[in-house]
Symmetry: D2
Subunit: 282 residues, 4 copies
């Protein structure tokens, strides 16, 4: 019975790299995890076990280290991803397209005497800076983003006026806790716009909007954050969010004989709402 | 500056359910986790904070429990997903499409005296049975699958004849360990074909092929498994795999004065190769 | 101000090893993770930065691979742990005591045609076999055990007659779901008793007791399992358990208009009860 | 065969609580996870299934919420733990001793316009503040601490002069990366000394010492940090650390034709060294 391979890709995932730039007065540090996936003329690998056109994933891993070593300075992950993509496309005509996903784990420089220390850092867990680079010989698409940035506001958030069917028991509220873990992605019109400074500025727009928005739902705030990013940053042409609603359930302490001050909550991980949306300039 | 909401969806994730069917002589047990995502006429929720058309995610959670309670028997997750999808579409005209993802955590009945025990079980961690149901008012698509099934073979696996560039140091081998964590998905031509029995049969085809295949690469085995599924199961029209190469690196014990018997390996989780492919009937 | 180092130890953790025994007709497989911790005359390492008596943890890791390579056959983890402990004590007079903790990840041989396959396996996630070996030059203590074995029974479990204070709202029940993740440890009177066969037999006693016991509390079943282990296995002199109560909360489906058949539950990971106890022969 | 219950305890784990203190001009926020374990006259629960002296773990959970609701202000976790311990001991004569472990997840107040926002925060993942309170009717012991604080220094760390045996291949170095995840615990002579301010001051001493110390081994820095804590904080009488050596392995980029600038490293999670020590005032 004839069978067809309709899609395939392969690559190396979870390639970890720590890079140190040793300047005279201070060291800079970058910790990233790289995922590489290639598409190309790979059918014979599958159907015949013919590896003639197969670049080993171990080689991809080595390429990450080699190309990182070629520059002395730390570079933006969007730049590094493009260099990797260019390398694979330039040296392997059997490859049609390259996907590079980079996650950057961030650090804070220590300040023992109130002064920035030359070479000691604490690691910021949770929030990660991310970038996805998709390249063919014809075009390059760059998406920058944030993963796992947990934010919370203790008021100016409500949820009411929703559908009530026979399975609805959720009380309406005009004052609830709003907690989410921000996953954001944005595309630049021009890939040169993907700088460290712009990343920080988009991040600030998202956080400021979350803080200041009078939220009528997670969707409402999602849209407000997306609208703000597009309004404030003309270089961004599209932005999307995936926002779990990390429910903080009010505990009815009156049941225990205590005064209810809207103060005691049970934060939960599951189940959770999940709200996703993508906005672009008209 | 005008801005457009180009895509959005929302729902409830990680809804956990344990269901017991209490027959006279034995209990049956099902443990599932359900993710629900809806698309529909939801723009006003985002842009105006108008929740008139918003079915709360808490209601979706309750719906899972209510619909599960409507049947006494345990039902296949593909059936339960369809019932959920139908419920949301039938009762909410503002909804265009429903995605239901179900993960089933499996159990093994205990056998204290060599006999099946009526109500005691051990839980099988790792491997999960999964199903994805996508429904609009026009059509239903059902994908069944397996997640996290770790398999290993200690011989009849090689990797050679690949590209050698300046970053390639991987030795060729005709006898390596092959370990992967199977993620498989398959689509049935007819959704009634998605039965418990068929799921087990497709799973067996995948495992048998892995065991018996003389592997020249992960890709080579991926294709062989896909081809076997399509050949043996005419009701399946498409099958895809995502296979991490869980590298088991030979330890050079000769360095420590010991004989190298191809016996001592370092299993690693990162970095890992990742091989993906999708096959369908021509 | 004078300061004293009152206790210290160091070693290597998460040393992973996969060992293959290649017999003519079949391969055997063992996958373990080893943690090593040493106590000894190490004060100068701390106080002076003098590493003269410091065996590098990298050397400990290599020792695991070297000693594993010395035997062709797979050996019980209790045996391998003792060989490791003996090696460190024999070759390092500055060491007073050695702790070796071994976790074994188990596999099931595949049976493609109903026959055991010579070299293909599925991995059993979840439950692990464990052993802790503590050795000084004077004595050796061996503890065998089980980690993460999740068991569940759907009836013959109740909880009632407990204290009711002003914060107690838990209903009494004589028919609840009982689910726990068994962590068990047992000590053998004689370390030679720590065989594969005995491990399986103790495990069976624990499971059989869980299945058959009419449980009035987690504590009640813990004690019954411990008593059974000591009664059935004279070579075991002490046994302990740590048992989380993985609550499965009944969902009140009557609220949704459905019949309550004690069938629909919400399984939760947090919060959970935790019950611990240790029994020995009088 | 007579059997004895030599030790037992039970309680509730992973009780999560989010508390908001709503002041006029700003909200304060506390997110904690509480584990409770009790020892007492509980043998009959085990041996007879008699729950007369059993305080349900569900009641313990409710007690956490009730006692948290009794104070309007956020209180130090050491204080809250003591209140919980006192409650259980005062109301349950069958209890001999109470262990309360509290983990605090920390937040940073947002500053949208450079000003502290009244009610919006980002969550700091990774590092946690912890406290362990052990109470009997006779005495109270309080241990404060830090978990999962990852620190790194890119120079002023070496490791040399160690034992070389036949399994030693680690090169000596006087310039390596030193990365660890700090787990620290300290005991106060007087439990009233356990304040927020003191916790931050001890934390600062640990970080400053890590940054400034010229490290000859992980042990050497562990001791320096402990000595500094005891020297700077007379209220602390004992301090201990558990420090994984998160190895950052130099990548030999010369192999790839690139200049080796001590710049490219592979950070790994396993295997890892683990160094532990406890210091007290003489």
């Amino acid at each position: 019975m004839p069978v067809e391979l309709v899609q395939n890709n392969y690559g190396k995932s979870r390639v970890r790299l720590l890079k140190v730039a040793r300047h005279g007065d201070r060291h800079d540090l970058q910790n990233i995890t790289v995922n590489i996936a290639l598409e190309g003329d790979f059918d014979d690998i599958h159907t015949k076990g013919d590896n003639t056109k197969c670049l080993p994933t171990d080689t991809m891993k080595n390429t990450v280290y080699a190309l990182a070593a070629q520059t002395e300075e730390i570079e933006a992950i969007e730049r590094f991803g493009q260099r990797l993509g260019n390398h694979f496309l330039s040296n392997n005509e059997q490859i049609f397209s390259v996907s590079i996903d980079v996650v950057e784990h961030q650090y804070t420089r220590m300040t023992p005497d109130g002064q920035p220390h030359p070479h000691s850092f604490t690691k910021n867990e949770g929030e990660k800076r991310v970038a996805s680079i998709r390249m063919t010989r014809e075009e390059t698409s760059i998406e920058s983003g944030i993963d796992d940035l947990i934010v919370i506001k203790t008021t100016e958030s409500g949820f009411s006026g929703f559908i009530k069917d026979k399975y609805t028991f959720l009380p309406e509220t005009d004052d609830r806790i709003f907690c989410t873990s921000v996953k954001a992605r944005w595309k630049y019109a021009d890939s040169d716009a993907a700088t460290d400074k712009r990343w920080s500025a988009v991040r600030k727009t998202i956080l400021d909007t979350f803080a200041e928005h009078d939220s009528l739902s997670v969707q409402h705030t999602l849209y407000a954050m997306g609208e703000a990013v597009l309004n404030v940053h003309p270089g961004v042409e599209e932005v999307s969010f995936s926002l779990p609603n990390i429910h903080c359930i009010p505990v009815d302490v009156a049941k225990f004989g205590e005064e209810n001050r809207n103060a005691i909550f049970l934060p939960t991980d599951e189940p959770h709402g999940l709200i996703e949306g993508r906005l672009k300039r008209k």
